[in-house]
Point group: D2
Chain length 417, copies 4
């Protein structure tokens, strides 16, 4: 979906028009239907709101027009996704929520026509949800995907998958899973990981213990999922055998960035709440908004929001023009945005005082929604490690190519100290 389809020849103007329409829809239709803090969106409301989004022409902004979406290219997703994320349920309503959004992205890039017909169509329309089964309990695949333990072995024309996954967001009630499993090499295919499309009613899949996390926006929870001699046909292979790790990278760069977009919308919401509060409160005889220590908090929020918006835009443009460079940049965007967004929500709580940590306002729940983002999709520490290594490598290549080494200390001894 990084490339605009013919039908969706968007321009800055049409995207701005869609952004405004999305904004009106979210604020006018979705906000009044939000569940209370700590509660989840029920299915009936979700269905009703999705229909309304379709009617308003704002459903599935990132999905090609042929699959019922708005066909917006990736470099313009941010404006729209931020509007969606202004409500914690907005992305679900617009069907641009993780993990479905990333799965749609990958299916569009990698799936066969038959797979698209079967999986992408229903997913894009909101008829089913999906999950992405990669993470495993220690010592399996986590921060380090190479530690993958789940395996798939060929048996004739079939594959038999065995393994234990956890933190499989959205698995409860999902229609299908994209499963990452280790596969052996053959004469034709390399050893490595392979992705499989597996229906959740496959008898070899069992959704196990739920993991109760502090977020509430994710439909389908984050449970354990067990694969026990889960047998699928060769049509279940997504893309090529042995290319799973490569596809995972293709998926993760944009998926990481759309998290930034959606949660930046929630940061804007949080700041609006705090600004409303500081507008009408007086303390020590002064308007709260006029007190310098509140202004410090507000200004820092603005800086965090605008720099996040800017690094997202830069990364989105790169993902459109140079996916590999864009994926590298997405590490930087992910670390900056996940920390900046958390700070914004945290400061908004501070401005709202006791109400900020109560469910009288939704801010404490927003903090719970965004906290995990510093951990998910590669912990920030893992990303910083990767960022540093890429920087070192880039510079080393420059020096190897002839740029002068600049770190030799010059001895300058012409006079007394």
């Amino acid at each position: 979906m990084t490339a605009a389809t013919p039908e969706a020849s968007h321009t800055t103007d049409t995207v701005e028009e869609l952004r405004q329409r999305t904004r009106d829809f979210i604020r006018g239709t979705v906000l009044p239907a939000e569940p209370a803090p700590g509660e989840r969106l029920d299915q009936a409301t979700r269905d009703r709101l999705q229909q309304a989004a379709k009617d308003a022409g704002v459903f599935a902004p990132h999905v090609p027009v042929e699959y019922g979406g708005q066909g917006v290219p990736i470099q313009w997703w941010s404006q729209i996704f931020q509007e969606a994320g202004y409500s914690p349920i907005g992305p679900s309503v617009l069907n641009c929520m993780a993990p479905d959004e990333g799965n749609m992205h990958m299916l569009n890039l990698v799936a066969t026509d038959e797979q698209k017909r079967r999986y992408l169509t229903t997913l894009a329309s909101g008829q089913v949800r999906s999950c992405f089964a990669m993470t495993e309990p220690h010592p399996g695949a986590g921060s380090d995907p190479d530690a993958l333990l789940t395996s798939a072995r060929r048996e004739g024309d079939q594959w038999v998958i065995n393994g234990h996954k956890r933190f499989i967001s959205g698995a409860v009630g999902a229609g299908f899973a994209i499963v990452m499993a280790r596969t052996e090499g053959t004469d034709d295919t390399p050893a490595g990981a392979t992705m499989f499309l597996v229906d959740m009613d496959n008898p070899g899949i069992r959704v196990g213990e739920h993991i109760h996390t502090i977020d509430r926006a994710m439909a389908g929870g984050h449970p354990h999922v067990y694969f026990e001699d889960c047998t699928v046909s060769s049509e279940a292979v997504l893309g090529e055998v042995g290319q799973g790790f490569r596809y995972a990278q293709v998926r993760l760069g944009p998926a990481r960035l759309t998290h930034c977009m959606r949660w930046l919308g929630l940061a804007r919401r949080s700041l609006d709440i705090a600004l409303d509060r500081s507008e009408r409160r007086t303390v020590f005889g002064a308007e709260l908004k006029s007190l310098g220590l509140a202004q410090e908090l507000i200004a820092q929020c603005e800086i965090d929001i605008e720099t996040s918006d800017a690094i997202i835009a830069k990364t989105g443009a790169l993902l459109a023009s140079d996916p590999r460079a864009g994926s590298a940049m997405s590490s930087i965007a992910k670390v900056h945005c996940s920390e900046a967004i958390f700070r914004v929500v945290d400061r908004a709580i501070q401005i709202c005082g006791g109400d900020g940590v109560s469910d009288g306002l939704p801010l404490a729940q927003y903090a719970a929604e965004v906290r995990g983002f510093r951990i998910y999709d590669g912990s920030n520490e893992t990303h910083k490690w990767a960022i540093a290594r890429r920087a070192s490598s880039r510079r080393r290549k420059t020096v190897d190519a002839g740029a002068p080494y600049q770190a030799d200390a010059v001895v300058r001894d012409t006079e007394s100290h």
Copy 2:
């Protein structure tokens, strides 16, 4: 209780012995009885554990021996309270939890013998809980106590209290409240605020709407409390009429500091959990504890914990020797500790990854417990404002007393730029 009573002639050695005993009790007896994250301590378990604490000779460390406590002077509370706080239910079990602990402190300093007999005895023994009714809905008393709206007017030998309080921690199920109300001056008494001891079964008190906050350690919640022609006798006045604001300061300095102590214990617990995690996990083929980006987090935790411990010790010693200076210093301790403790818990979550934001570990709940401390007892912004003004005032007095003013820029123009 800042002064040790004759019976409790503690030394460094006896306090260290009590600390060790408290540590053994908390880790051996209390930890195994902790409720699951998000759950509350039930009354039966609390009663059982309080009895065990009495049997172990560790109950009510800060309470004079004559009231059944251990009679530890304030400069040594920190060691003991940190051990108590290692469990989120530890302070309740040892009866050194807010708001009871601060109320005991104030009753001991201000109450009449009869009031002590009636209120302090039962409170110190754990038979009843209490609350402190000061905070009001906007635009009443909050960060700015002067905005107090609740009033008490004399009617003959009685007082009639009217007003609306909120965030009254511990009110549900409390035996009595210490109520702050505005009183008019008379020939004998100044206008200002006055404190009253009011039984919670007084028909003029109504515990109203609960406020659902993210913490769970506080028995009795944080509800609204309404005073509607609540009538009490003159024996209900705590201390002197018109001195309420002064007593509130007497209460708040130590109360603020004991929050630091208890929650620093929880920060130590959080770090222990993270250290345990990093000890046994491997990632990218290395022990997690050996990775520099984890070591950065661990080292910052250590620094936060030790500097918090140090500023608490400094403030506690000052409160013992010079309560006014100690109260000023408690603003600094409060801001530093509340932020440092939050950072420690937040980093521990980060080290524990997905489990950190799930209820598989208690860390996310710990973060919820300590988040409010940056807001309660005067928001950190309010304290920073006070800290800055005190610094300016201190320096101005020094200059007024003859110290040279040092901020005139000297013009040094002897040569070219």
Copy 3:
């Protein structure tokens, strides 16, 4: 110069080509000619390098082609200016250094043809330098421009300027000054501030005491400048009488942003030095670059650099399309970049250890160069104040226009706490 002139019809490709040429010139020609840390660029070397820049077709990137520059529109300055700033003397060599660059920008927008002929031509070609005389000693114009004390009064067809300026960067050796002075209103002109073009050899101007600051890159220092019955003709008025404050804003938005661009180049240089160091050093038996605590520093540098680059790009695009919004955004860019750039240089010093604080490496001098940027062009505190007020105002207007106020705490009391 925000609009490209006809002759300079740049595209992304031509700008990229110019960027590469500038990069080659700076690294191949300018770096080898840099003075030692703490020393200044001498005039002869500057002249030689400026000629070389002209020969290489990289001189004055922001200047219209008709005045001898490369005619790059403002939204593309950043790529070029960052390459220039990779050397602390690069901007002087390319004639895109403050305050000349901002003065050229303003002259192009506001000056008469005759003024352009006389002042812009020589300035753009590097024949003369200039200064911008706005800041005054306390209690005059500083963070608060409205406090302007320097005055200009009409005497027939002339103006007589009196006042005392300081921190007038570049004044020593400048050919002319743009002077901000308070003027009274007449029937035709409003009261306010007016800008004047004054030759530095006017007998009424006296360059006074130098102010020795820690930076070295600014030719012409930061001296006091005195105006003593300094008489100029009416042709000296720049733009319209009474519009000085408005023009100052026109100048300051882009001027602030070009500081960000140039110094971001120096931040990249600093990181390169640190990366070189960490590439070849071993400590405790490991390569420095492989140690997590060094990687933390490197990754934070990358994040600071890329987010700075991104917010500059966003602001530059806004300045081109909507100067008023761009000027507001430039406050955010200025605060973020000035702090991020300082942090990058500071971390680079840390990575280089003792050499980092010696003149064996240029890093300590780089830190001195960039430190002032948190103070110049409006202190960061002043900008944060403005940022917060704009945020409050924006939100208030949204609410006034009908958006729901979101900060009323909802009372949700359906069950026990």
Copy 4:
């Protein structure tokens, strides 16, 4: 000197009296004699002020009375050293400056009577200065002392030292050096490092190239020092052969902490300058000190200063009672204080605006003085590494001794998500 000598039976009261006397001396006598920012203290002024300090009874606070000092035990040094450090030349004047102060400390603990007579007496009295020759150029001893390359070999009754040191603070003009060299083991002595007392007029010592660093308070610079067949007698061995690394630890714990003490004094000075500035400046019609964004800076300074003071006090007490634990704690104190002190000076600069980065005020020079402290005496990164490893080790031992491992995530699956 950690133990008070009989003659110097200090109490809290006598130390407070000495602190007040030191304060009066520094502010009344030393401040007026300070050199301009960037200049150094000349020898004549130093001699005059040292005599005045002796006359005032404040000279050498840490030195035993028998050597002409005030005999203050280490747990009380902080109060006195902070007063000394209020002036950048104060520690030199009171003869409690690095590296002499640490050398005196070690000589007192380790030297023979004859060595004390010859070296400690003259050093303590201010007659000579000294240096500590440990650090070497890469890849020798730096952050990692084990990398020591300088060697000493026995030749009969003599030792011959060869090696290259650098950053040898105070070497220019010093009377003697304490030299760290690698020595081979014998039947009687272990292999390892050994310390030697070497007169600087030994023909085998050559003070080489100076290293121009940004600080100015250190008399004697930070030059390279070469040992070329430098021959000394066996009386030159300080302590026991092969124990050099152990003694270095003995020296470094307190030496690190006294840096904290002295520079905390300079931080207090910086804040005083900023408070003076904010007291008398008005901006935007308000007193600077009343603006919240200045109050934020001031409050953060107070918090940094008081927490630094507190962790120093804690560490000093530990060094007196348990030197090994104190040395470990000194890593934490060093990291916290070096960063906090730098922040205080940096914020003071910010409050003073343009004057802050000029030599019209001394703040920019103060920033240069304290910047190196994050690098010297073990870089903060090295200390954080050590702090993290100690924390991991402490916790592992606790768990090994029977404490329950707390990081197993509990599966709590009793209901739907």
